[in-house]
Amino acid sequence: MIRAAALALVIVALATGSAFAAPPNAADLEAELVCPVCETTLDQSNAPVAERMKTFIRVRIAAGDSEQEIKDALVAQFGSEVLAEPPGGGFGLLAWLLPLAGLVGGAIAIGLLIRRWSRRGPPEGPSEEKLDPELERLVDDELARFDG
């Protein structure tokens, strides 16, 4: 019984939460959409079509549309190029995945290098190997000759 009541409360909270979600912000949307003429985001463009798109966004916000609905309406009229961020599916997914793959690949490469360097022994010092006694004697003789 208690569990059912709690579940009902959660459902009501979620439903009211979505119903009273804050309306989309025009400035945020203008930063996420691209003007087809100058190919900068709408907030940085004053081209006539950009101004028309800004007006469209404000009218749709006033009409109660969600951010996604406004974006969908603009994509239907201007194509997916109107989105400043590449779409998360199809070919656009590559724009997200390739940098991530590069980061992961770079991290793996750095990790492997660090592991390799850390396994290397200390740098080799002067050789402690004994000289051949005959050779040592010859060297001593030569040095004595110079000293003399």
Binding site: V37, V49, Q77, E81
Partner: protein
């Protein structure tokens, strides 16, 4: 271990290069429109992609293949495009002067608000058929990379010539008219 790490590194590098090469190949193979214009201007006559689009100038749809038997000038434009404004009166004149010769001028408006496109048509008094290619799907199939672009299609639905940019200039106009004559002669 070092050898193994080197092999893994080389494998990753080769894999990345292979992936980039595959992407390049895919891009070239699916770039139908680019090849469409290039093929047409090489003297080949590739078949124009058929389309059915919502009309802007009246109710209903407009299908390219419904004009088979006539030569068609397909002009991709947008109301915000400045060269489109410059060439609009010339296209209207072309349509009025040649419609009795079985020539149809079709204007396809892309990446635009419908209301802006209609206002553009009213402003320039366009009377040739106009259709709405909102997100530019058909423009992509034709390989349009900017606005305006114009394709001349013969009576059998094959592309005779393609023009990037306005067609009203003194240097382009004779070539367009020549392509239209060629399309009508088919």
């Amino acid at each position: 271990m070092a050898r193994r790490a080197r092999l893994v590194g080389q494998g990753v590098a080769i894999g990345l290069v292979a992936l980039l090469f595959a992407l390049l190949t895919w891009s070239l193979l699916t770039d139908e429109g680019g090849t469409l214009a290039a093929q047409a201007n090489r003297g080949e006559r590739p078949t124009a992609p058929d389309f059915t689009l919502e009309r802007l100038d009246e109710e209903g749809d407009l299908q390219l293949s419904s004009f088979e038997g006539k030569a068609v000038v397909v002009n991709f434009w947008a109301s915000w495009c400045i060269p489109c404004k410059d060439e609009a009166p010339f296209l209207e004149e072309l349509w009025r002067d040649n419609r009795d010769r079985d020539l149809v001028v079709l204007g396809l408006d892309s990446r635009d608000f419908r209301a802006d496109a209609r206002r553009f048509a009213d402003r320039f008094g366009l009377t040739f058929p106009l259709a709405y290619d909102g997100p530019g799907d058909e423009a992509s199939r034709f390989g349009v990379t900017g606005y305006p672009e114009t394709f001349v299609i013969d009576r059998e639905g094959r592309v005779v010539a393609a023009f990037k940019g306005g067609v009203d200039g003194d240097d382009v106009r004779p070539r367009l008219l020549e392509a239209i004559d060629e399309a009508l002669e088919t």
